[in-house]
């Protein structure tokens, strides 16, 4: 498995995107966003997505050099159509607009429809946080068939519909970044277990009859099983409730679509809808008191003695920061299969394997 320095890995992605026809700004946004996901430890949303994007661009499902189009502008409310563009571009442009509105009005409620894969949603919360904003993001997925079953159900009806909420940094704490799939596990983890030939933890999967299983192949063999909602046996209705609300908040309020048989396209198509709430805290409270309250609360929860001294209480965003520091210094591990697919994607846009290897510094 190659380990690639993050700047070199970015360059690999940049060159592939450029060769496919993206302009320099788009290639930059795509490359930095994907590598940033790897740096935070979320490989399921990292550079391994690029081959899928390139494929989708050839079938016309992903539109190169598209931009966010404002469909409805009501001041506090913005409705944006992503026109099937790279989610890395659409998400970035939409957040810029939303941040500007939140500065103006204190609040922006922004919807995105028809964006290609918005990728790691935490990235959008982080962009808002870096502008001093608090934000919440509700996401749904259309295009590929559902993977997640409703609580009590026995088959997949929608995707991993993430929820994200982010607070800006204070004098003493970096950004607080909550970003999770509303399924018990991310689909990427099931793929990894299947490839490694290991079982999943109990509670994550059901087979096609709705029975609990630990076999990752149920997501790949017909009749297919599904991932269960987060919260498990005792509280799966809560995770399911969030998933179904995200489906409708993101899919309906955006004027987009929800995941249903009639909106299925293809395994490689991932279109996201998103409802973002962006708030300027300075329009609500004194910023000094705001920061003091965040710091005091974080200190208070972190002071809970750990059950296992090696695993202290963290706040959302801490695990990603630890991974970022580690991988920033030591490089990003890219598994063989992913690297093979990236080389293949390069070849499909006219870049020779040895050229990409040279850029990556991989033999």
């Amino acid at each position: 498995m190659p380990t690639i320095a993050s700047d070199k890995l970015e360059d690999v992605c940049r060159q592939i995107a450029l060769a496919r026809g993206s302009d320099a700004a788009e290639a930059e946004l795509v490359a930095t966003n994907l590598v940033a996901a790897n740096l935070t430890g979320h490989d399921s949303h990292g550079v391994g997505m690029l081959p899928r994007y390139i494929k989708a661009s050839f079938t016309g499902e992903l539109a190169i050099n598209s931009h966010a189009e404002v469909v409805t502008d009501q001041g506090v409310i913005l409705q944006i159509d992503g026109r099937a563009g790279y989610g890395q571009v659409i998400g970035h442009e939409a957040m810029e607009m939303g941040i500007e509105r939140a500065r103006m009005f204190g609040l922006c409620v922004l919807t995105i429809r028809n964006s290609f894969h918005l990728c790691r949603i935490g990235a959008w919360g982080e962009q808002c946080a870096d502008a001093g904003m608090v934000s919440m993001h509700h996401v749904n997925v259309v295009g590929h068939p559902g993977m997640v079953a409703p609580f009590r159900g026995s088959d997949a009806r929608y995707a991993t519909n993430p929820y994200c909420a982010v607070l800006p940094a204070t004098a003493n704490n970096p950004r607080t970044v909550l970003d999770f799939a509303t399924s018990e596990v991310a689909a990427g983890k099931v793929r990894v277990a299947k490839n490694k030939g290991v079982q999943m933890a109990p509670g994550a999967l059901i087979d096609s009859t709705g029975e609990q299983t630990t076999d990752p192949w149920v997501l790949y063999n017909e009749p297919k099983g599904a991932i269960g909602p987060f919260g498990g046996v005792q509280a799966g209705h809560k995770g399911y409730g969030m998933a179904v609300m995200n489906e409708m908040l993101a899919g309906v309020l955006s004027g987009g679509q929800t995941c249903r048989p009639e909106t299925d396209r293809d395994e490689d198509v991932i279109l996201n809808g998103m409802l973002s709430v962006i708030i300027d805290p300075s329009k609500m409270v004194d910023l000094q008191a705001f920061e003091a309250e965040i710091d005091a609360t974080i200190a208070h929860v972190k002071a809970s003695p750990a059950a296992n001294p090696d695993e202290p209480v963290l706040v959302p965003g801490d695990p990603e920061r630890l991974t970022r520091a580690e991988r920033g210094a030591q490089g990003v591990p890219v598994d063989d299969e992913t690297w093979r697919e990236m080389l293949e994607a390069g070849v499909s846009v006219g870049i020779a394997e040895e050229d990409l290897r040279a850029i990556a510094g991989v033999n």
Binding site: T72, V76, F105, G106, L107, V109, A149, P150, F151, R152, G153, S154, R157, Y163, A165, L167, T176, L178, F180, I206, G210, E211, F230, G232, V233, Q234, A235, H237, K238, G239, G241, M242, V244, M245, M248, L249, G251, V252, L253, S254, G255, T258, C259, R260, V277, K283, M284, V285, E293, A296, T297, H300, V301, S304, P305, A307, N308, V313, L314, P316
Partner: protein, 361 residues
């Protein structure tokens, strides 16, 4: 266990709140809200709260006939102080203001701080939904001892910090009302398990040393009690922490910490509400047809257990409501005893209250 007609129960509760010094309209609002929680099946937020309310009234922590004051008005962004008034009243006033703002601007954000206990949060989502609006609500609690532990932690650091998200009704579906505690189970369920001598659900509790436990008595140990676990491990914990901070830091309220106790005692909620007018984004026809199609799609997933079909948020409460409206609200003996004792503390008598409730004197 008495089963009390909901209208009579409302009258009994209104009589007690009124005798506690509230105007008739306030007494009625409080009673309607609490009985509404019982009707929805959430007894932990129902009339059983009255003894705590009246105790806090008598010591002055809960202020009768208080109203919200507008602390910040920036158009779509409003911060209100509940002035330690009945949460049922100041919550409703806050939602009224938020609904008006959302109609004006398309969306509004309402920070409500220093409200005395605002009851079942779903009711605020339902108020917005009845006005045709979508809403999300993030809540924290102060003045109550901490009962929920952070993921990986070993002691309680905050309370059950609920999250609520609600969609208005369509042609074919009633409002979709998601409303849950970010702990694995609500404290009310632990109280019930303890009273019945049953074990708590697997994974719901930890003892005072942070070890997993199923003994509900550990939540009542002194001086250090056990703690409720978050639901969904790090994810439910993340939601709880975000609610703690969103509801406090964004409203000018405070978090649940040792230094934020009250004397005299009171249970304070802070809430950050986002209210959105969906008709500013999509047509009513589109909204109705897409919500209906999505609900039909998820409900058509074959049930793993045919006796337990797939539901959408709000369904269990609707079922309970129709049963209890027709059959009455069960109030356990201990709760009714505590309620009548609260009535006595403000000058009413047991026979009087039993008569209003339609129970034998």
């Amino acid at each position: 266990m008495p089963t009390i007609d909901h209208a009579r129960l409302t009258n009994a509760i209104a009589a007690i709140v009124g005798a506690g010094g509230s105007e008739a309209a306030e007494a009625r609002t409080v009673a309607d809200n609490l009985v509404g929680a019982n009707l929805a099946g959430h007894d932990s937020h129902g009339v059983g709260m009255i003894p705590a309310y009246i105790a806090n009234r008598l010591t002055g922590g809960l202020v009768a006939n208080a109203h919200v004051s507008v602390e910040v008005d920036n158009g779509a962004v409003v911060v209100l102080d509940g002035n330690s008034g009945y949460g049922q009243v100041v919550g409703q006033e806050a939602m009224d203001i938020g609904i008006e703002c959302a109609r004006d601007f398309g969306a509004a954000i309402i920070g409500l701080r220093n409200a005395h206990h605002i009851g079942r949060i779903g009711q605020w989502g339902e108020q917005c939904a009845a006005a045709g609006l979508v809403s999300m609500h993030h809540v924290n609690v102060m003045g109550h001892k901490a009962i929920v532990a952070p993921f990986r932690g070993t002691d309680a650091r905050y309370v059950t910090n609920p999250y609520c998200a609600t969609l208005p009704a369509t042609d074919n579906n009633p409002p979709t009302v998601l409303d849950f505690a970010t702990s694995m189970v609500a404290m009310g369920k632990i109280r019930v398990a303890r009273n019945k001598g049953e074990l708590a659900p697997e994974g719901a509790l930890m003892d005072s040393k942070g070890q997993p436990s199923r003994d509900p008595n550990i939540m009542y140990e002194e001086p250090i009690a056990g703690a409720l676990q978050p639901f969904g491990a790090h994810k439910g914990y993340g939601l709880a922490l975000m609610n703690e901070i969103l509801a406090s830091a964004m409203t000018g309220g405070l978090g649940c910490r040792p230094e934020t106790k009250y004397d005299p005692p009171k249970i304070i909620n802070n809430m950050l509400s986002i209210i959105i007018d969906p008709m500013k984004l999509v047509s009513r026809q589109f909204f109705n047809s897409e919500v209906d199609a999505t609900i039909a799609h998820v409900k058509s997933s074959p049930a793993a257990d045919p006796a337990k079909p797939v539901l959408v948020p709000g369904d269990p409460e609707r079922t309970s409501r129709s049963t209890r409206i027709s059959q009455g609200v069960p109030v356990d003996d201990e709760t009714w005893r505590e309620i009548t004792a609260a009535g006595v503390s403000v000058g009413l008598t047991d026979p009087e209250l039993n008569k209003i409730a339609g129970l034998a004197a």
